[in-house]
């Protein structure tokens, strides 16, 4: 192939544009990701959740979650008239295949997606005897599975029931907030696959994140605030009966 200098220079910008598309197929590594520049959290918009179970399936596919265990799951609450303290809660197979039909006018029904609350002062990280679970500088609670002994103290310590012992690896496993995705500029698998936008990944350190305006203008709650865990998963319009 003969190319003179003039043609080479003409083709350079074209090649530069094409290269962008070549790279677009794979999400790039983010060498300029700085952990201290982020403080990750999630917003769950309860009135938008339709209980389709897309998030549970997506999480299982993305993170190889073993059958019968869940990093995220969906609960359906049923509150009959005034009996707020005894809600009937079901979560068949974590809500993976949806929920059974309900009779009309049988009280109040709603869905509550659950996942690790990525607590700022988490009981689970405090009880680990070997330093195998920790909160990262960008606010995600992770498990170092090569270091974990599988003693399951953390499984008992989590007030939200978000951890389990992996049946094959025999170590603690939990939601990583898709740490391998959010550090590359992608959203989590559950947020990516939620059809109604009931789940939103939020960066509390990003001043342009819509979460700040949302928190100012909506009735937002965290789960079990009395436990003072510093939970960072915010629930919009959370019903008082939710545990």
């Amino acid at each position: 192939m003969n190319i003179d200098r003039r043609h080479f220079l003409i083709m350079l910008p074209a090649a530069a544009i094409a290269w962008k598309h070549v790279l677009a197929g794979t999400p790039e590594e983010s060498p300029n990701y700085t952990m201290t520049g982020h403080w990750w959290s999630m917003l769950i918009d309860i009135p938008k959740c339709i209980g389709c179970g897309n998030c549970v399936r997506a999480c299982a596919a993305e993170n190889d979650v073993p059958e019968g265990h869940f990093r995220t799951w969906v609960e359906r609450y049923h509150v009959t008239d005034w009996d707020m303290v005894n809600p009937q809660v079901i979560s068949p197979d974590g809500g993976k295949e949806g929920f059974p039909a309900v009779p009309e006018d049988a009280g109040k029904y709603f869905f509550v997606p659950k996942l690790c609350n990525q607590c700022t002062d988490s009981p689970c990280t405090q009880v680990c005897p070997v330093g195998a679970t920790f909160i990262t500088p960008d606010g995600v609670v992770l498990v170092d599975q090569t270091y974990c002994l599988g003693c399951a103290y953390c499984v008992q310590a989590c007030p939200y029931g978000c951890r389990y012992l992996h049946p094959e690896k025999k170590v603690a496993d939990k939601c990583t907030l898709c740490y391998h995705r959010i550090t590359k500029g992608l959203t989590t698998a559950c947020c990516e696959s939620c059809p109604t936008g009931a789940r939103q990944l939020c960066d509390l350190k990003d001043p342009n994140d819509p979460i700040h305006a949302f928190l100012k203008t909506h009735h937002v709650q965290v789960l079990k605030p009395q436990m003072a865990t510093g939970a960072k998963v915010f629930y919009n319009e959370l019903d008082g009966s939710v545990r």
């Binding site: 197929g25 794979t26 993305e62 949806g98 049988a106 391998h180 698998a189 990516e192």
Partner: protein, 156 residues
């Protein structure tokens, strides 16, 4: 004046303590991972290892670089904010190598996953009793999944 008798015993003990301490330091140096304590009381390298896990959902931005035609159809309809992989499933492998074709989808399963009527769902969300609604016809007979409003004179 000598304060203790037979100080040799004490010195021998002290010597053993020093030896034990040195052994402890040496063992600790080899047993504790290099990155332990880099950010806190844990192995700092674990963060990078978890961040290196493989991706299965490519993300809608990746899909749209090639399938811009679908994007234009989608933005006009009610499914504008439903991401590609919400229905199509995880397709990072296809994004990396387009010769891997994704499986054909079954609207009979997919549509009803979200749109099956249930009193538990938010009232404003469009829901149908599939048997009554279509009389056994496939959803895509009337609704194009990327922009589901009924086209050509039909009611919205």
């Amino acid at each position: 004046m000598k304060r203790f008798k037979d100080t040799g015993h004490l010195l021998r003990f002290a010597f053993l303590f020093v030896i034990a301490f040195v052994v402890f330091l040496v063992v600790r140096h080899f047993v504790v991972p290099k990155s332990f304590g880099e950010y806190g009381h844990y192995r700092g390298a674990a963060i990078g290892e978890i961040a290196a896990h493989p991706i299965h959902f490519a993300g809608h931005q990746t899909c749209e670089t090639c399938h811009a035609d679908i994007l234009t159809v989608k933005t006009t309809g009610k499914h504008a904010n439903v991401n590609c992989e919400a229905c199509h499933g995880p397709l990072a492998k296809h994004a990396d190598d387009p010769s891997i074709t994704p499986p054909k989808l079954d609207t009979a399963v997919l549509c009803i996953r979200c749109h099956a009527a249930s009193a538990a769902k938010p009232k404003g969300f469009p829901q149908v009793d599939a048997d009554q609604h279509s009389g056994g016809l496939a959803c895509e007979t009337c609704h194009q999944p990327h922009s589901p409003a009924i086209q050509a004179g039909g009611t919205k």
